[in-house]
């Protein structure tokens, strides 16, 4: 007992297990809410309105909007998971349980990120199943599909950690989601093609990083893309590295977690 060398495997597994059990305890908020919201989006935008809209580049509108709906839920689940886990841990000081335990800061970050990715993927699977009922699902490249889902979940899990560390109140905790993530998701080509936009709005959309995530996911599902996928790949790798290094640095210096 108590001999930990190298990676604290049992500790890391426990961290992930604790986080998963925590979200299962509040499953209406963590699972039912995003699944119901996704169902409504698919029904209204895909089924009701979609039946009146022509195909886009040979893709039925329902299948065109589905990747965006899926990705929006994946990224918001990952973000909410780490933001609330870190913030509440600081708020009720239960994060001290981890600080006094034999964890390296990398293990703590891994614990948060892994559990966020699992939660996001569970939501993703749920939405895929719902999408199947509406005939909205098409997967042309399964490995790429999984890669996009996991990468985007990692990016937003890291963003969530940053917000969880930064926020000093519940109000601040929701700021980024309301003013940045949600608007960027909706304006990232989730419901429309670039062809529908004038030059100015198109330029704004191309400058939106979430556009590349949705577009990449759309390529992995229906095989249609409007952007250079390489730009998306570089963006994803760049963001994971930059955010990962920043989060590691903040944990290393104990910013807002160690006095």
């Amino acid at each position: 007992m108590n001999k930990i060398s190298g990676l604290n495997k049992i500790g890391l597994y426990t961290l992930v297990r604790r986080e998963i059990e925590r979200i299962l305890r509040i499953s209406i908020q963590t699972f039912a809410a995003p699944l119901i919201s996704a169902t409504l989006f698919i029904f209204i935008f895909g089924y009701v309105l979609g039946s009146r809209i022509d195909e886009i580049a040979g893709v039925p509108y329902m299948q065109f909007v589905f990747p965006g709906i899926l990705l929006m839920n994946i990224l918001s689940s990952a973000f909410e998971h780490t933001a609330s886990a870190v913030f509440f841990g600081r708020w009720i000081k239960s994060i001290e349980e981890m600080l006094v335990a034999p964890f390296s800061y990398i293990e703590m970050i891994l614990g948060y990120v892994l559990s966020a990715v699992i939660r996001a993927l569970l939501i993703g699977i749920g939405i895929l199943i719902i999408g199947l009922f509406f005939g909205a699902v098409a997967i042309s490249n399964a490995p790429l599909f999984l890669l996009y889902a996991v990468s985007v979940a990692i990016i937003f899990a890291l963003v969530g950690i940053l917000v969880g560390l930064w926020a000093k109140s519940f109000e601040q905790l929701g700021l980024l989601n309301v003013f940045v993530i949600m608007p960027l998701s909706f304006l990232g080509g989730m419901f429309y093609s670039l062809e529908f936009l004038n030059e100015t709005v198109r330029a704004i959309t191309i400058a939106n990083p979430i556009f590349y995530f949705i577009d990449g996911m759309r390529y992995a599902t229906v095989g249609y893309s409007e952007s250079n996928l390489m730009i998306g790949a570089i963006l994803i790798i760049g963001l994971i590295l930059t955010l990962g290094i920043l989060v590691m640095h903040l944990f290393k210096i104990g910013w807002r977690i160690r006095a």
């Binding site: 007992m1 925590r22 349980e97 600080l99 964890f103 160690r258």
Partner: protein, 246 residues
């Protein structure tokens, strides 16, 4: 020479706000000792404990537990220490058994090890019936017990108790005293902070008093209770003589 359970040398902790919470504290605790760490509110007790356990960063100085540096070899050092803090820094919605199981896992204990140890501790603390109860639904006394059990799950060499009997009724306090004495007799080093001076006098072999971040008096229990006076009398006397007290 007795083996050292804890050794603090020239510890200094300055918060980002510029507040000097601990200012050159040096003290050592022998293995198997029951050590009392006293001082008024804001004196630097909890900050010192936070530096030992890793909740606070050390500005300068060194701390070793069982000869292991708490910064250089933090992973090993943390397995040696169990802390029951003043505040309930726990997921209050979690069930007692689960919360303890997680802590055991953090310390690398396998599932069978955790199950055995947790059941053993819950029985000892008469808490088995609350294993599936959420922490928030426990009474204040039982919450304190959970904090103590949590500190013991990984079987640490040193147990640090920061106000463990605050808000606990007399009966439970006496039960806890008995249990702590038993633990200490079994060889565990215990460091206790408390505002109940009779508790410290009863339990501790040696005592240090800290104020304004500095150790103002340190000695054996006999030293503090010489001339037939109680620890409380002596504590107040030190206060009156202005040894760093306000």
């Amino acid at each position: 020479m007795a083996e050292k359970a804890l050794e603090i040398k020239d510890l200094r902790k300055v918060y980002d706000t510029g507040t000097v919470a601990v200012d050159g504290v040096s003290l050592s605790v022998d293995k198997g000792e029951f050590f009392g760490f006293l001082g008024p509110n804001g004196a630097g007790k909890t900050t010192t404990i936070h530096c030992i356990t890793g909740v606070a960063r050390i500005t300068s100085g060194t701390i070793t537990v069982s000869g292991i540096d708490v910064v250089d070899d933090y992973r090993k050092a943390r397995t040696k220490v169990g802390i029951a803090p003043q505040e309930f820094n726990i997921d209050i919605f979690g069930k007692v058994g689960k919360l303890l199981d997680y802590v055991g896992g953090y310390y690398g204990m396998t599932k069978p090890e955790r199950e055995k140890r947790i059941d053993e501790l819950l029985l000892q603390f008469d808490m088995m019936k609350y294993k599936d109860t959420a922490f928030q639904h426990l009474s204040g006394g039982y919450k304190r017990r959970v904090m103590l059990v949590r500190a013991l799950v990984h079987n640490p060499d040193i147990l640090i108790l920061d106000e463990p009997t605050a808000g606990v009724d007399v009966e439970l306090r006496r039960d806890l005293w008995k249990y702590l004495q038993k633990l200490n007799k079994a060889g565990r080093t215990i460091i206790l902070t408390s505002h109940y001076l009779e508790e410290v006098e009863l339990l501790c072999d040696r005592i240090a008093i800290i104020n304004k971040g500095k150790i103002v008096e340190e000695g054996s229990k006999d030293y503090f209770t010489r001339d037939g006076k109680s620890l409380e009398d002596h504590y107040l006397e030190i206060a009156k003589n202005g040894k760093g007290y306000e």
